[in-house]
Subunit: 457 residues, 2 copies
């Protein structure tokens, strides 16, 4: 144990919990590009966005100058139900690897939603309630976001309609059942409840759905029903704002321990976890107060940062959402059915896309087999069975720790352990049985879906 | 919020973690009755027990005078991976119930085994390793003990052979898969690997197994294989000793907060959680230093304390284990297939049986439907999806809090939340779909299995 003064787990006191979210955009020199109206190609106005999203969330979405937003009292209270989350010193993993590096992870899985998603779902449900809405609609793939939203809606007594990608609905009945426990209605997507669902079912009989299609359905239902709005668990600026609580707690705990991170690693699908984890660190980097190596890890089969294009694209299959400028593989891109459902999105948050484009962070891909091998190695020594999504960060953290072993450097590595894999045992089973495969998309495949990007000057 | 100084969650510092287990038997005036050799009806000697169990564990099993046992350094280190567990003030539940009572729960589910079982499995694996064994065998029903043991064996690089009740093996493939992730071999019981398994399969073709039968198989394999011993996750004195860490932490946290419990509630199957939770409180009660109302809660369908007989009985179906004096429904008793697998055991730990017989604690039953209604109510306000086993304690805690609402008493209620229900979603689904039933065993049914108790003077 290199430093006996550092405990295995560091919990902030409840009094030390962040009381404000940090809006990284306020410190960005190059701001993320605005959302565009797909019809006019003009930046979306607040009143247009308010047809789909809750009012105050729209303000958060559009505000790139206010540095801090107060976390409302009701949300702080809910946060105390499962926060602070622990910053764990991975002594066991360090010992196993024989590395001189210090490894820390911020563990967001100690709540029934099983992930960090609750940080934003409770905020979004709060603003919906405050606006006097009846309920909210959303989509879910792996089910973590849907679960988190159903918990938040149950707390504020809001109706919650979840469109769950059909293949997940069928493969993950337990996730569905957790959402029902929290009173949500869960519909397999594409359904026959919506125009877009009917259209997709007619065009692709027997389809098992996609995230992009479920988004279109959820938006349609929100727009057509009085007293409903649509909420989204990733990609958006507002989500990254709420998730900044992860990074703020991480930074506060490291400061308390007298530690400084050298490398910060997070998995990246739409960017909700990574954007939240790195926020205060990236803020210091932007202001020249400190330097950090920041690494986004994405699946080999869905490499938006590493092989996508930085361009305006549709966020959903039905093309009814605003256009966002992001690193994208094209909204037609169908990722191989890998087992990290939370990372199977064709685009990356505009904020992270801009930071990446400005060279402020790196990106790497990891193969599915490497990810599960890292997951199992981690589980056996650290005692937590990680989600496949989170295990992308574990893989690269191990890589970096092993580099330190070679060079003898005592770097401090911090990664985000976003959630647990208790509902992903089918994937672990395939891995154990040798039935899991890697999937490397061809250049042609990516070029083909990129060829259909909308034309925006 | 009745007292703003009390946080939602209280974590002890790592420095405040107990460094000794508390052996409640040392303070019992009427000691629990000794295990008997089923052939001679003489108390089991250490050397006889050592054929089945690890040496140091046998010493712990037989020692009813040593008050404290040092927790070995290696175990303390492992404990720090997931302990201290939080003592949670159930502000949300209190608010929902509108009770003047203060409700606390000790949450043991924040680890991948999903329950308190890890507290004893790591101890048992440690002593097995210390003895130079190759591995251990065990049985598991719901799968929590098997998972906890597989994690502990993985940590100490011990082989782990789990006999899993066939019906659970088939209904809970995810539990099985978690055990495999930790490198355990999992065999459905009754199997064709053992004499007793072959016998039971021949006598009851197509049987889906029972805990008593799986115990017999695991013991047989341990005895017949060099370098193996059998380990058990409940009932035994040694297990209650290890689980005292739950109660010691709870007591330390309450003391730190300046709180005194009035009522302490735990679910009771074999007694591992309840025995651990109440240990230091019962110790004070025995010494006349304080008084507490202590309530064991068992399923209506498996009521060993409330409707069983205090007598010597077999611990397993194959009748190859020592005889234990306990409140029992008879080792032939087959509990209805309720969804609290961890509470479906015909007998109760000798220690708890003696305390109950001496009038030092109460026992109540709860119906399955009431338990799941309490579970769902709890999940919706406290954000944790509880295990069906733990929900028995929730049910009675709610009952007691509602009594306080009627009387206006500000009692302090503490209950054990032993684990999470993430692998029990089939049960929750039945509950949601209205397909769950209660089961009240008839007097005749219980009398019939009790008529087969072994004759011991």
């Amino acid at each position: 144990m290199p430093n006996k003064n550092i405990p295995y787990k560091t919990y902030l006191d409840e009094k030390e919990l962040p009381t404000q979210w940090y809006n990284l955009r306020a410190d960005m020199i190059n701001k993320p590009a605005p959302l565009l109206n797909p019809a006019t190609l003009e930046p979306m106005k607040a009143e247009e966005l308010e047809e789909v999203f809750c009012k105050e969330l729209v303000q958060q979405e559009l505000d790139d100058t206010t540095r801090f937003f107060d976390i409302p009292e009701e949300i702080l209270k809910f946060y105390k139900m499962y926060r602070p989350s622990p910053l764990v010193r991975a002594y066991f993993l360090e010992e196993k690897l024989g590395t001189p590096a210090k490894i820390y992870y911020k563990f967001e899985g100690n709540n029934t939603s099983g992930s960090h998603k609750l940080n934003s779902s409770i905020a979004q449900a709060y603003y919906a309630k405050k606006q006097g809405l009846k309920g909210v609609t959303t989509e879910t793939g792996a089910g973590q976001w849907g679960t988190a939203l159903s918990m938040a809606c149950s707390y504020f007594d809001l109706d919650c309609k979840v469109y769950m990608v059909k293949v997940s609905y069928e493969q993950k009945p337990f996730r569905r059942e957790v959402m029902r426990t929290y009173g949500a209605s869960v519909t397999p997507s594409p359904s026959m409840d919506t125009e877009i669902g009917k259209k997709i079912n007619a065009e692709h009989p027997g389809t098992t759905g996609s995230l992009g299609c479920a988004i279109s359905e959820a938006v349609e239902v929100a727009v057509k029903n009085d007293g409903y709005r649509y909420v989204l668990g990733s990609v958006l600026n507002q989500v990254l704002l709420h998730q900044s609580v992860i990074g703020l707690e991480t930074k506060a705990a490291l400061d308390k321990l007298g530690e400084k991170a050298d490398i910060i690693i997070g998995c990246a699908g739409g960017g909700s976890n990574l954007g939240g984890l790195i926020a205060p660190f990236m803020g210091e980097k932007l202001k020249g107060e400190a330097d950090y190596q920041i690494i986004a890890v994405e699946p080999q089969s869905c490499p938006s940062l590493t092989r996508g294009k930085y361009a305006y694209d549709f966020c959903d299959t039905g093309a009814i959402c605003p256009l966002a400028k992001m690193y994208t593989l094209g909204s037609d891109y169908i990722p191989a059915p890998n087992h990290a459902g939370g990372l199977r999105y064709h685009g990356m948050s505009s904020t992270l896309s801009q930071l990446y484009d400005d060279g402020l962070m790196e990106a790497r891909t990891a193969t599915q087999l490497d990810v599960f091998a890292a997951a199992e190695e981690f589980a056996r020594v650290e005692g937590i069975l990680p989600a496949p999504e989170s295990s992308h960060a574990i893989k690269v953290a191990i890589d970096e720790a092993l580099k330190c072993k070679e060079t003898g450097e005592e770097k401090t590595i911090v990664f985000g352990l976003t959630g647990t894999g208790y509902f992903d045992m089918v994937a672990y089973e395939k891995f154990h049985d040798g039935e899991m495969e890697n999937y490397l998309p061809s250049d042609e495949e990516i070029a083909k879906s990129l060829s259909k990007l909308p034309k925006v000057d």
